[in-house]
Amino acid sequence: MSALYRLTGVTKKYGPNTVLDDVSFEIGKSEVVGLLGDNGAGKSTLVKIMSGVVQANEGEFHWDDAPIERMNRDVTERLGVETIFQDSALVPFMTITRNIFMGREITNRLGFMKMKQMDAITADVLDSVVTIEGIKSPKQLVASLSGGQAQAVAIARAVHFKRSLLILDEPTSALAVRATEALLNYLTHLKSEGVSSVLVTHNLHHAYQVCDRHIVMNHGRKILDVRREDTTVEELTAAVVEGAEGIRRYREGRF
């Protein structure tokens, strides 16, 4: 499997603090990757760098084996990277339609939006792509949706615009059990359509259920990068909680 997105030697410093230290990994095509780690492990920074919002101090990036010369949000947008940040993927006081088409509005030549067309497409997307209960109209404000519904709208947006890599930052933290299940299932479903995703989460069980591969971060370093077949929830737990030491002890059977 050739890599969709490859990061090599990514280092990020904020003043004297090294937040990411020589991190390298790749994301395959149609692969769901779990990005795990405790608070402060560098996950969020890594997500921001992958999505092009924050620039790394050092590091190379390859997309489909072609080098990316200058990383920024415009480039990743063109490549089809979509990040769904926890709680903040949508604008609360905008309608669902306006959120879905935010930044990618359907307009005439003068830049005026074709509201009817966008509403119709939104209604269509909401009916066909995502599992959302209780949404009445594309004109509903996002502020009136539940956490799960809002998350689903954010995902619907990514799906509608045929993104090739979905980065979900703690997507399940605000969700009810049922919505979480639907979301996790959905990632598997997306995979079958050729979309890769990165699931950033605290919740090892969620990650273990759906991810093909797990990357564990600890204090800015990658300490584990393993396919699901080759690991267990226990090993991942040990890695997240105790770092490299935990992995070693687990493998020696002393965890």
Binding site: S51, V53, R73, D74, T76, E77, E82, T83, I84, F85, S88, A89, L90, V91, P92, F93, M94, R98, F101, M102, G103, R104, E105, T107, G111, F112, M113, M115, D127, S128, V129, V130, T131, I132, E133, G134, I135, K136, Q140, L141, A143, S144, R178, E181, A182, L184, N185, Y186, T188, H189, Q209, V210, D212, R227, R228, E229, T232, V233, E234
Partner: protein, 367 residues
Amino acid sequence: MTDRRSTGADAPIIEAPLATEAITTQRRMSDARQSTNFGGRLKHELQFIRGRGALEITIVFVVLLVGYVIASLVSPTSFAFLNPNNLSGVISQAVPVLAILGLAAGILMIAGEFDLSLGANITLSAIVFIKTAEGVGLWAAIAAGVLCGVLVALVNGAIVVYTRIPSFIATLGMSFFWMGAGIFINGTTPATLTTSRDETMVFLFAQDFGFFRSQIVWLIVIGVLAWFFVHRHRLGNHLFAVGGNPAAAEAISINPKRVKLMSFAIFGGLVGFASILIAVRTSSMQPGGSATEDFTLFAIAAAVVGGTSLLGGRGTVLGIIIGAALIELIRNGLLLAKAPGFYITLFVGVTIVIAAIFNKLMEGKAR
């Protein structure tokens, strides 16, 4: 663990329905959020309307207007609201200026910023307009006045956007700078329109056509343009996105800095234009004076009364115009009732604080 591994990497682990027709059908059939009792439905409907506009304020406006009309019909002499002079003065002279300034402040507020140098900007732009009109000519003066407003606001905007100083502080400080700039250009004597205040200029900006004046025509033109821009244009959508949730906007590759600078520029253009209306009506402008300072908070109040959020991301063009009309209506009512003029200042002050509290409560609920 072993049996889990044997399911293979590609098989879904949870046996819940996939994201397909099963749940969607259920969604259409039964609406989980639909309350059955009347109170619940009403609450839901109010939530639905909430934040999108001008409904409440329109009701208040209409009620007050009806009250004024009745009062004026009952006692036409002591409360001369329906007197043609009064109507024309309020509706098509005072309201348009405040409404245009309210739109300026409101559009900036939707993008999540403030410009407290609005009053100073008016003074400076009006002086530039007057001096250019006297020295060069009317059309150059119009361009210069508007351009001056834009430049002043863009300098403010650049400071806010690139230094990330809260716009409150930055523009409050710059307000003194721009006031000083007015004195620097013109000295401490008032700039006055003399020979250049000809028929064309008056016709364009201050003509009394009997039951309406030039200013109201400008308000209609600017209001329509603003509505289409704010509510129907792609860039208007970006205003709401950046003001409502900058992180989400940036994640979707909208550049918040660019959008904020744009909103400062629009703000400046509208303020520059309003300053022309003010200058032509009054024929003069006092540099460094306090005559225009009130406009800063009045414009913000018009926007806030019209439903614009102090925290960004919410507001409507229609609401702002009605907000401005409401403030001027109250001011006029106080005047006609021979109440002291400072009552309106009390009202505006209290309104902004109450709106701030109200905003806080609503925003808190939405999170």
